[in-house]
């Protein structure tokens, strides 16, 4: 099972770029890397997913090096509303009989 390791917490300031790195040393060939965001008392929200290199959407970018043993979620110019817990998940597609393992996530606090 591909286990992930990410920082327990991070602080930053409004307007800054925030990078959260996740380590997944034993990632398998058919595993994808997915990031979710969760606000208190709400369900997680899908942010971005990737397999290799770089993926960008309107919310974030995901950088994956060639060896895929880590990944970095980049949030450009954060605001106070980006304060949340961010989860890095690694696993094969949902259509396989496999369960994603969620860690404790990274609690990101944005300060004014």
């Amino acid at each position: 099972l591909a286990k992930t390791t990410q920082p327990i917490s991070m602080d930053s300031y409004e307007g800054q770029e925030v990078n959260i790195t996740c380590s997944h040393n034993n990632i398998a060939t058919n595993d994808y890397i997915t990031w979710y965001q969760q606000f208190p008392s709400q369900g997680p929200r899908f942010i971005i997913q990737g397999y290799k290199t770089k993926v960008t959407n309107e919310v974030a970018s995901l950088f994956i090096p060639a060896d895929r043993k880590s990944s970095t979620l980049s949030l450009p110019r954060v605001s106070l509303s980006d304060t949340a817990v961010y989860y890095c998940l690694v696993g094969p597609p949902l259509d396989s009989n496999y369960q994603l393992i969620w860690g404790a996530g990274t609690k990101l606090i944005i300060k004014p």
Partner: protein
């Protein structure tokens, strides 16, 4: 478009009782997953259903069961409630495989308190 809906929002039960939680997926989504989230921890996978069949089961006791109906809605049942079952129960739906194989849409959750 309506997102994933769950009912009830909050629930208080006594030890030993039974509870049923309900989930309606996004229209067109055929896969539903259930998660338990204890305060301060990430969600723990309980079940995944696709086309009314169980496709995955997490490490939970047999007191936990679920089913998916022809309209793709789902129920999670928990028997003989324990204090440790107090948690936020999350339902997520997805299109299953596709371009983004892990894009799940979560509902707001049901907050279960067992006293």
């Amino acid at each position: 478009d309506a997102g994933v809906t769950q009912s009830p929002t909050h629930l208080i039960k006594t030890r030993g009782q039974h509870v049923t939680l309900r989930c309606s997926p996004i229209s067109g989504h055929k896969s539903v997953s259930w998660y338990q989230q204890v305060l301060g921890q990430g969600p723990q996978f309980i079940f995944q259903y696709y086309e009314k069949e169980e496709r995955g089961r997490g490490n939970f006791p047999d007191r936990f069961s679920a089913r998916q109906f022809p309209n793709y809605s789902s129920e999670l049942n928990v028997n003989a409630l324990l204090l440790g079952d107090s948690a936020l129960y999350l339902c997520a739906s997805s299109l299953d495989s596709g371009n983004i194989p892990y894009e799940q849409y979560f509902g707001p959750g049901t907050r279960l308190t067992v006293t």
